[in-house]
Symmetry: C2
Subunit: 107 residues, 2 copies
Amino acid sequence: MGSSKTHIFSIQQNELAQVAKVLAHPARIAILEYISKQEGCICNDLVDEIGLAQPTISQHLNEIKKIGLLQGTYEGKNLCYCIDQQRWLELQEAFHNFFSNINLNCC
Amino acid sequence: MGSSKTHIFSIQQNELAQVAKVLAHPARIAILEYISKQEGCICNDLVDEIGLAQPTISQHLNEIKKIGLLQGTYEGKNLCYCIDQQRWLELQEAFHNFFSNINLNCC
DNA sequence: TATTATTATCGTAATATTGCAATATTAAAT
DNA sequence: ATTTAATATTGCAATATTACGATAATAATA
């Protein structure tokens, strides 16, 4: 015991939870906010900006990448991370639907 | 090491992450969805519905309660959990703002 | 006040997450 | 091919989460 029993839940429930998990860390919120403020983004900037060690930032970036939110392309000699627009809008809609479909007339 | 360095992030970043953390488990997504479908909600129904042990359900309910999303009131002999409307709309807006304020013209 | 049904807490084991130092890889420029 | 700068991976320690059996607390009813 200790691991989540994902198999007893629906695909939709698991997927929303998985995305929420990526957002469930202030560093990853901060990273997404910071990237969005830049024209491009160099990971080394993030280390200075966020205040975590380079391997830690790299791992957080990887978590964000896993759910398809980041595109990394080389621009000259620097690796530039960008937010994937389509995926972003997809997730925005998923959260919007979740919050909207809940019936609040419970009691 | 091991614990999150919450102090290096803003209150807003930490709060959004904390709420996301509650949504970051399919059982809690399922619980919220199930409660919303009922007129009221008895925890014992949740145990049968979700498929986790009663203490586990109770703990998940507590996590949801901690961020102010649940109101528990006794209706006759049964404890009825309801979603707190005001808090729900508050969180809905918080996520909406997060997704909307991100600038997608990164690269 | 017992009894019964429901919900919460405690204790504990298994697994996951977070973070960083050390090291490896990658890509550009010399 | 070497060097240099940036990013990724590995390995490991500390902490957090998930889950459940056992037990306690709570509230209605007999």
